[in-house]
């Protein structure tokens, strides 16, 4: 439940989310050379498809967010990529929302970009231990998103605080699934196409 729907958050939270998203998307677009747009767009489409796959974890099934991987493969350009994916999702499936587009973009993209910037150089360098680091990246990114979603709810109304903590508990299976799947994807890409682990925008 990373996509907060319309009608839940308060106006100040929505507006600050939108402002932060504009800054992030703007930064990302500046790094995204015109000629890299096809690559970024197709990569975003592939990551979007990946997030539609339902993966069983324990008694439930989860959809991976792949935000850490996005940060690794796209760098700051993950902000516009996430924005585009969320807009598409709102238009195609009626998921997420329009007014929450900014908040959701920041909640999903920011942890991925930040943790990928932190762990990315090590992941690209390391040969053994790469999978473990990538798993950590996936888990941390999802945890960061969970924290931000809970924060958005708690800041909107103090009545939501208990809901926010329940929500955090539901992120545990997500973190497990995300960690294992991200680790495998990165190990696979490292073997088959190491260049893919470099950010598209640079």
């Amino acid at each position: 439940m990373a996509h907060i729907p319309d009608g839940l958050l308060s106006a100040p939270v929505l507006v600050s989310g939108a402002v932060a998203a504009v800054v992030g998307v703007g930064l990302g677009l500046r790094r995204l050379d015109e000629r890299l747009i096809p690559r970024a767009g197709i990569l975003a489409a592939a990551l979007f498809v990946g997030s539609l796959v339902a993966i069983p974890v324990g008694p439930t099934s989860v959809h991976v967010l792949l935000s850490g991987l996005m940060g690794l493969m796209l760098g700051v350009a993950a902000f516009p990529a996430v924005f585009v994916m969320l807009l598409l999702q709102a238009l195609l499936f009626g998921f997420g929302g329009l007014t929450t587009l900014g908040v959701n973009t920041v909640n999903i993209a920011l942890p991925g970009v930040a943790f990928a910037a932190l762990l990315g150089p090590m992941i690209r360098r390391a040969d053994n231990g790469r999978a473990a680091l990538a798993g950590l990246l996936g888990a941390l990114s999802v945890a960061g998103t969970g924290g931000l979603v809970a924060l958005s709810l708690a800041l909107s109304s103090s009545d939501y605080t208990p809901v926010a903590s329940v929500l955090l508990a539901t992120y545990a299976p997500l973190m497990i699934g995300e960690a294992f799947v991200t680790a495998t994807i990165v190990a696979f890409l490292g073997r088959v196409r190491p260049a893919a682990l470099q950010p598209a925008a640079s």
Partner: protein, 235 residues
């Protein structure tokens, strides 16, 4: 309903923003009733209702917690917990607002073609690069989804059964890795093809027809109703 996609997108944004500002249950209920009526008139496919259920998970979570945690006079007791009227009221309000927004978005934006939205976004002053990125993503999602479906059919043909195990996670990881590798190869081919045809970061987007008087009228009606709802709500 405005036919013009630009006005429809703006009207949706106005209406949904207005709904998220509502504070009283009667007005939210009226908004929900209108949105539900409009949805029912359009006869959505059964798949839509299943997706709606997914969105309502948030609402369910609120209904389970809010009546017990919001302080107020108790209307009922469940063992050691008391249900407060204020909490119940609050949960109803949020449920109505979230549901009305989802239904309205579906009605207003459900049949827009994503491939054609690039020109719409440009017309609404979205930066050109962002509009390009959107068009590229929208174009390739359907294609890559088919590719993913083929890869998953191949896994199933080798009697892969998803379970909660490391084997499953590793298999899905490899599947997604393969999807990404194929996407990157496709991106290279697409990029070369585009460069061959003189792409230099600019497209010609097809001109959109000017909105008709009917579009403007529908747009005015919708946004007027949205603003009126907020005003009544605050009275």
């Amino acid at each position: 309903m405005p036919d013009d996609p630009r006005l429809r997108l703006v009207a949706a944004l106005v209406a949904v923003s207005a709904i998220s500002l509502l504070r009283t249950v009667p007005v939210a209920a009226a908004a929900f009733a209108l949105a539900a009526l409009a949805t029912a008139l359009r006869r959505p496919e059964p798949r839509f209702w299943r997706r709606l259920l997914h969105v309502e998970m948030f609402v369910l979570l609120l209904f389970v917690t809010l009546p017990f945690t919001v302080a107020g006079p108790a209307v009922a007791t469940l063992g050691p917990f008391t249900v407060s009227g204020a909490g119940l009221w609050r949960a109803t309000l949020v449920a109505l607002k979230v549901s009305a927004s989802v239904l309205l978005l579906r009605v207003l934006l459900g049949d827009l073609e994503p491939e054609r939205l690039g020109a719409v976004l440009r017309a609404l002053l979205v930066p050109e690069r962002l509009a390009h990125l959107f068009v590229m993503t929208a174009r390739y999602v359907a294609l890559i989804r088919d590719e993913a479906r083929r890869l998953m059919d191949a896994m199933r043909a080798r009697s892969f059964r998803p379970r909660s195990s490391r084997h499953t996670w590793r298999s899905y990881g490899n599947l997604l890795g393969m999807i990404l590798v194929r996407a990157l190869e496709r991106a290279e081919r697409v990029q070369e093809a585009m460069l061959c045809r003189g792409y230099a970061g600019r497209y010609r987007s097809l001109p959109l027809d000017a909105p008709q008087a009917r579009d403007w009228a529908c747009f005015a009606l919708l946004s007027g109703a949205a603003i009126l709802a907020v005003v009544i709500d605050r009275l």
